[in-house]
């Protein structure tokens, strides 16, 4: 088991290197350069070239890549922003924390809403308790998350004036972003959990449990649920990508200083150090969460646990 975790963590290294490589590759295809953007059209080409050299932008692609990796690994230095001239790390770290907490709230909230409703709709299939939540989930699945956010904004800030429309100063300002981030994946979780649960209820071992004389309550909550949750766990992990997308949208929509909106903003300035460092951090977080999901899966599924244990031998 430990060996498996270590293997997976070790895979982070080629993974991060690959991510940086892909990003540098993509960047190198871009027309325009940061110096020209910073200095404006009025500056002479010589000034621009000079600034590009200072920034280290003019180096060949591979050299830039190797240098970057070296600095990152040996000196834990993510470089300096082209745009603000600040240390990239200092600039993104506080914003990173905001984004990660937003995504974390999203995961927790979407699971807390989506999974219980998914179970309930499956248990009460064809009743009103199934149709209404399922219908709502169906429509939410067809609404872009920013539209949902705008609807919230329109209703709670503009019309009702209950909640602030931007910032993260108080708890109440976190409510709408959290909802905007959580609702779409919650709908997704509901639909997935429902079908998983329906599948699980049909299994033979559920019939065995009934034949033992177990109550419907035990049958569903003890036998069917545990098995139905296995694929749901993976699904929650898979929804993380969408959650990060949702977080970026929420940051823009509610003017939250997160890393996603930072990257979107800096794209216009071609601020390579910030964009790359931000992406690396998010990717690492993403990979670690996926690993956690796998571990949780292994924890709740004895068959997978046994497989990992065997990897050890």
């Amino acid at each position: 088991m430990y060996r498996y975790v270590i293997n997976r963590l070790l895979f982070l290294i080629p993974s991060v290197l690959g991510v940086i490589f892909i990003l540098f590759l993509v960047m190198s295809m871009t027309p325009g350069d940061p110096a020209r953007i910073l200095l404006g059209d009025a500056a002479s080409q010589a000034q621009v070239d000079e600034l590009n050299r200072q920034l280290g932008y003019d180096l060949p692609f591979m050299e830039k890549y190797v240098r970057y990796v070296y600095k990152m690994v040996v000196e834990q230095d993510f470089g300096v922003s082209y745009f603000t001239k600040q240390s990239v790390f200092e600039e993104i770290w506080p914003r990173y924390k905001v984004t990660v907490s937003l995504a974390f709230i999203g995961i927790v909230l979407s699971s807390l809403i989506g999974i219980p409703f998914g179970i309930y709709t499956a248990v009460r299939q064809y009743s009103l308790w199934d149709t209404i939540p399922s219908l709502i989930a169906f429509f939410i699945a067809a609404i872009p998350s920013f539209v949902l956010g705008m609807l919230l904004l329109y209703a709670f800030s503009l019309q009702l004036n209950w909640l602030p429309s931007y910032g993260i100063e108080s708890f109440s300002s976190f409510i709408m972003p959290a909802l905007a981030v959580s609702i779409p994946p919650a709908a997704f979780n509901l639909r997935f959990t429902k079908s998983s649960m329906l599948e699980s209820i049909r299994q033979d071992y559920v019939r065995t449990a009934r034949a033992k004389g177990a109550s419907e309550h035990t049958v569903i909550w003890k036998h069917a649920l545990h098995n139905a949750l296995l694929p749901v766990v993976t699904n929650v992990g898979m929804s993380l990508g969408n959650l990060i997308c949702g977080a970026v949208v929420a940051e823009k929509l509610f003017s939250i200083p997160g890393i996603g909106s930072l990257i979107v903003d800096r794209i216009t300035y071609k601020d390579e150090p910030v964009i790359i460092a931000g992406t690396i951090l998010i990717s690492v977080c993403f990979t670690v969460v996926m690993l956690l999901v796998d571990l949780i899966y292994a924890y709740i599924d004895p068959r997978i646990r046994a497989k990992y244990a065997r990897v050890k031998g």
Binding site: R210, K222, H223, L230, A306
Partner: protein, 334 residues
């Protein structure tokens, strides 16, 4: 006489109803099991054997399965009239069931101990955890599994071992009736022999009555006291094993089953199988259901449902025997 019956099913009719069709799964069967005896329910796929078992347990699929009519008397209780709560107290406690496929009938995420303990605790709420554990261990060793394996998960057991666990689980409350639905079909022949012998021995030791569902007449000959042959949702023939295996009269379908089995003792070049296929249960013929495949089919068979012919313990559902003189000489099984 009446008090000797552990199970008495009268005129049971069950259908499966979907939007597309109505399947007449069981069409008015009568079935009796004497206390301490084993009844073999024989038939091919789709004959309605499993539906019969699920009706007794009242575990038919809720949405589609419907019991149209009939009574199921179990030891002076009418099961179909019990409340869900009362029925739950019967299930697993007084009537237990072993399913066909041991690979899927155990919960993959619970240990064997948890699953057996659940069966105990459901019906013995007053037992302490230690006592429950004790009984789990006894149950496991009873079916020939080392009690030290109790904390393992089903995937760590082979197919035969899983079926032993299922049997342990079914017998742990010492039920009055055990329903075994093709318990050895998924197993290899040497393992089947082990499991069958174990079932027979435990049955005798606990003194439980048994409904043995199978398609294998060999298993019937080895294990059962009485037999009922099922075809297209009806019991076409029933009686003691001797009535069926050595009796004077035999239903043409039963005869066909015997003739379909290649014999180990004699060498023959051809089998004499029943021609054709079982009728579509959503569209049964109006006369005798077996008529389209029967060698002795008469006009009356096509138009009229046959009535039961009762001769002592032997019951036949066939026009051939309505008038005893018309009966053909029975053909030998071999």
């Amino acid at each position: 006489m009446k008090n000797d019956l552990i199970l008495d099913i009268k005129n049971l009719r069950v259908i499966y109803q979907t939007d597309l069709e109505t399947v007449e799964a069981i069409n008015g069967i009568d079935l009796k099991i004497n206390k301490g005896k084993t009844l073999g329910l024989v038939g091919e796929t789709g004959a309605g054997k499993t539906t019969t078992a699920l009706s007794i347990m009242r575990l038919l699929p809720e949405k589609t399965g419907k019991i149209l009519s009939g009574e199921i008397h179990f030891d002076r209780q009418e099961l179909l009239k019990l409340s869900p709560l009362e029925m739950r107290k019967v299930r697993g406690n007084r009537i237990a069931m072993v399913f066909q496929d041991p690979m899927t009938s155990l919960n993959p995420v619970m240990t064997v101990r948890e699953q057996i303990a659940e069966a105990i605790k459901l019906h013995n709420a007053n037992l302490s955890n230690d006592e429950v554990d004790q009984r789990v261990e006894t149950a496991l060793s009873m079916v020939g599994i080392l009690p030290s394996r109790k904390n393992e998960y089903p995937h760590q057991f082979s197919g035969g071992m899983k079926q032993r666990v299922v049997i342990a689980m079914a017998l742990v409350c010492e039920p009055d009736l055990l329903i075994a639905d093709e318990p050895t079909t998924a197993l290899d022949v040497t393992i089947q022999a082990q499991v069958l012998m174990m079932i027979r021995e435990l049955r005798d030791r606990i003194g439980t009555s048994m409904l043995m569902i199978t398609h294998d007449l060999g298993i019937v000959a080895k294990i059962c006291d009485d037999v009922a042959v099922m075809y297209a949702g009806q019991i076409v023939e029933s009686g003691t094993v001797f009535d069926l295996f050595t009796g004077e009269k035999r239903h043409p379908y039963t005869q066909g089953l015997f003739d379909s089995i290649p014999s180990l003792n004699t060498r023959s070049n051809r089998l004499k199988p029943i021609q054709g296929l079982m009728p579509d249960p959503s569209n049964l013929p109006k006369g005798c259901c077996f008529a389209p495949r029967c060698q002795h089919c008469m006009d009356i068979c096509i138009n009229e449902r046959p009535k039961q012919v009762i001769e002592g313990t032997h019951t036949l559902l066939c026009h051939l025997f309505a008038d005893s003189s018309a009966a053909p000489a029975p053909q030998e099984g071999e």
